[in-house]
């Protein structure tokens, strides 16, 4: 097994899936010769050629729209949007078509498409390069939303996403791309979409996080008897694992870097309120980004939850007996 960062792990997943299945192809801006602006698709163009690793014009709506047509025809396109903040021009294709193709054709057509995109803050990049608007996609039935938090699971989840029969939005936390290294096995890593994972076991408080916040939640958990759940798939999400954990701990803190109002944390808190209120010994706490337009690099740190803030929230809920 080799140690890899997330960029290398995703690259390996793409390479292996393309080798396994001739229907898998990659398209997007700069994914070919340049190997992607983060080098995620490095070497694929040389290995698979321009028919399967397609540098497109600067056309997000067409990238997703074309991928929908390819998917409906029977291929398995993996479209890259260079940064999540540039996907907004393709929302019509995602919402009006990718999400509805199965329904509109009464099951005759479907859309096994993956849209990969770097997302999230903490990299000091220009405007629109650090968005974490995952909740927008979660609210649109018909789309699945996946967010890996470590190299190993990035590979496993991308494999599962490519093999999934539905359109999947695959959000890659840019801050983690080169931050962590981990053993990543070659070949299939069995993981199902829709399942969360206990990243750290504990008994007194449950922390739920995804993407780049998992690493911070794990740091914050040190010194507490905290259980940390890596949600991995936001839609459909694994409420069972969360409820089982909250039944054990009686306390819940949800962490996300997206803004608070109508963020995905609200969905988790509401689910626990509906289905597990009798487990709770303390109110549910959310640690999130602020309800603001994301600041540029000089002030962006104000907006990103810190391990310290997460630890403070943990202490707060632990104060309830």
């Amino acid at each position: 097994m080799a140690e890899m960062n997330m960029v290398e792990a995703i690259n390996l997943a793409l390479r292996e899936e393309m080798e396994r299945d001739a229907d898998v192809l990659v398209l997007g801006e700069d994914v070919g010769r340049d190997g992607g602006v983060f080098r995620v698709t490095d070497g694929l163009f040389e290995r698979f050629g321009g028919e399967r690793v397609i540098d497109t014009p600067l056309s997000e709506s067409a990238i997703v729209g074309v991928a929908i047509g390819m998917a409906a025809y029977g291929l398995k396109p993996v479209a890259e949007i260079q940064f999540l903040g540039f996907i907004y021009g393709a929302m019509e294709q995602l919402f009006s078509h990718a999400a509805r193709l199965r329904s509109r054709s009464r099951g005759q057509l479907h859309c096994p498409l993956v849209v990969r995109t770097p997302y999230g803050g903490g990299i000091k990049a220009p405007e629109l390069h650090e968005e974490s608007s995952e909740a927008l996609f979660c609210h649109m039935p018909g789309l699945k939303v996946v967010v890996p938090a470590t190299p190993r699971y990035a590979k496993a989840l991308l494999q599962a996403a490519i093999r999934d029969p539905d359109p999947v939005i695959f959000l890659e936390p840019t801050r983690l791309y080169r931050l962590l290294r981990e053993e990543v096995p070659a070949g299939d890593i069995p993981v199902e979409l829709g399942r969360a994972r206990i990243a750290r076991a504990g008994g007194e408080v449950t922390l739920v996080a995804w993407g780049s916040m998992l690493e911070k939640a794990l740091r914050a958990a040190e010194g507490f008897d905290a259980e940390v759940i890596d949600l991995m798939t936001l839609v459909p999400f694994d409420s069972e694992t969360i409820l089982a954990s909250v039944e054990k701990t009686g306390r819940l803190v949800v962490v996300h870097e997206a803004s608070q109002t109508a963020g995905f944390g609200a969905e988790i808190a509401a689910t626990v309120a509906e289905e597990g209120i009798w487990f709770l010994k303390a109110p549910v706490r959310r640690v999130t980004g602020c309800d603001v337009v994301l600041p540029l690099p000089l002030l962006e740190d104000y907006n990103l939850p810190t391990a310290k803030q997460i630890a403070a929230a943990v202490e707060e809920v632990l104060a309830f007996d």
């Binding site: 801006e29 700069d30 070919g32 010769r33 340049d34 190997g35 602006v37 540098d55 497109t56 014009p57 600067l58 056309s59 997000e60 709506s61 067409a62 903040g85 540039f86 907004y88 021009g89 000091k124 990049a125 220009p126 405007e127 629109l128 390069h129 608070q260 109002t261 602020c290 309800d291 603001v292 337009v293 600041p295 540029l296 690099p297 000089l298 002030l299 962006e300 104000y302 907006n303 403070a312």
Partner: protein
């Protein structure tokens, strides 16, 4: 029924100043000696500002920065034709236009250093904020132009974007709307041949970008974008048409991005160094300088003096930028809505008091 031609079109290209600094006198715009020297100084300012920005970035004193090296003529030349009342909608690589219009130097550094306050436009200028999402500002420019006409203001709107921008749906929808409503807007394509790693020929199968205007019923022209006089002339005519109520136009400035896409890019991965060298020989500054020297308006001493003076200005701008007190956490909240929401007020309180 014979098949017959019902419409046919031609695309023209304008060149005035050649690489040796010779001009085609018949096409020469009526610029006096002072204008020519001012143009050259602005191009030099743009080049040296850009150089300084790259140095600052390498020293960690600036964030990701997109160089304009090689595009000075198409930016200064086009901006030189704008009138004070006109509106300007930039993409993100229009440094030369900002400098020509007199935007404060320190604020430009401030913006690329990741501080929103650099976007605060001085009141006498009409500049929309830098647009990072490629091409998405094109319809805004059309809207502003329609509004100006609606108000009866005799101004024009200039909208800049790259060759990559012409692939976005917003480009097509914007141009179509402008054509239908004859909006007083001039679309200025900075065709620098590359959208990150994707060359112009992979951006469109069309022979020129200028011809895209034809489909929308708009006049389009290609100009040598390294020829400041051709760019100026074409832009001035298009702006004049717009101000006279004759509708929109499109100008393709054919130029070249000599540097990496941004400081986060490495163009050697996808670009032939020989191509870069070929374009280096067509340096837009050198061309105008040769013309000025021919006319006795410039010499080596003036060059040294101008460079020194500009460097001093840049020193002052950088010093001012770096001495600006840091923005506060309030700044993060202040402009999302006209007033803070109750939840924002709580979030701000929590951030300030732990």
């Amino acid at each position: 029924m014979p098949k017959k031609t019902i419409a046919s079109f031609a695309v023209s290209r304008l060149e005035i100043l050649d690489e040796q600094g010779q001009v085609d006198e018949r096409l020469m715009p009526d610029l006096d000696d002072d204008d020519l020297v001012r143009m050259y100084r602005l191009m030099l300012l743009t080049r040296l500002f850009d150089q300084r920005a790259l140095h600052l970035q390498r020293e960690g004193r600036l964030g990701t920065y997109p160089s304009v090296l090689g595009q000075e003529a198409s930016q200064v030349g086009s901006a030189f034709a704008l009138h004070p009342g006109d509106w300007f909608f930039p993409a993100f690589r229009e440094l030369g236009v900002f400098l020509t219009l007199g935007y404060p130097l320190s604020e430009i550094y401030q913006y690329w250093n990741g501080d929103e306050r650099g976007l605060l436009c001085p009141e006498n200028l009409h500049i929309f904020p830098i647009c990072i999402a490629v091409g998405t500002h094109i319809p805004h420019a059309v809207g502003a132009a329609m509004a100006a006409r609606c108000r009866g203001d005799g101004i024009a709107v200039a909208c800049y974007f790259g060759d990559g921008g012409t692939s976005k749906g917003d480009f097509h929808e914007g141009l179509n709307m402008a054509g239908v409503f004859q909006a007083p807007v001039v679309f200025i394509i900075q065709n620098n041949q590359w959208a990150i790693s994707v060359p112009r020929r992979r951006q469109t199968a069309a022979t020129t970008l200028a011809q895209k205007a034809i489909a929308y019923g708009i006049p389009g022209i290609q100009v040598d974008g390294n020829d400041v006089l051709a760019v100026f002339q074409a832009t001035r005519q298009a702006l004049e048409r717009a101000r006279q109520g004759e509708g929109p136009s499109l100008i393709e400035c054919e130029t070249y991005r000599l540097a990496d896409h941004t400081t986060a890019d490495d163009a050697r991965r996808y670009r032939d160094p020989e191509e870069v060298q070929r374009w280096q020989r067509r340096d837009p500054l050198l061309r105008l300088r040769r013309l000025l020297q021919r006319r006795g308006l410039w010499n080596d001493r003036l060059q040294v003096e101008a460079e020194e003076e500009i460097r001093r200005r840049l020193d002052r701008a950088v010093a001012r930028e770096e001495a600006t007190p840091p923005a506060t956490v309030e700044d993060v909240f202040r402009y999302t809505y006209a007033e803070l929401t109750p939840r924002q007020r709580r979030q701000l309180r929590e951030l300030k008091h732990g």
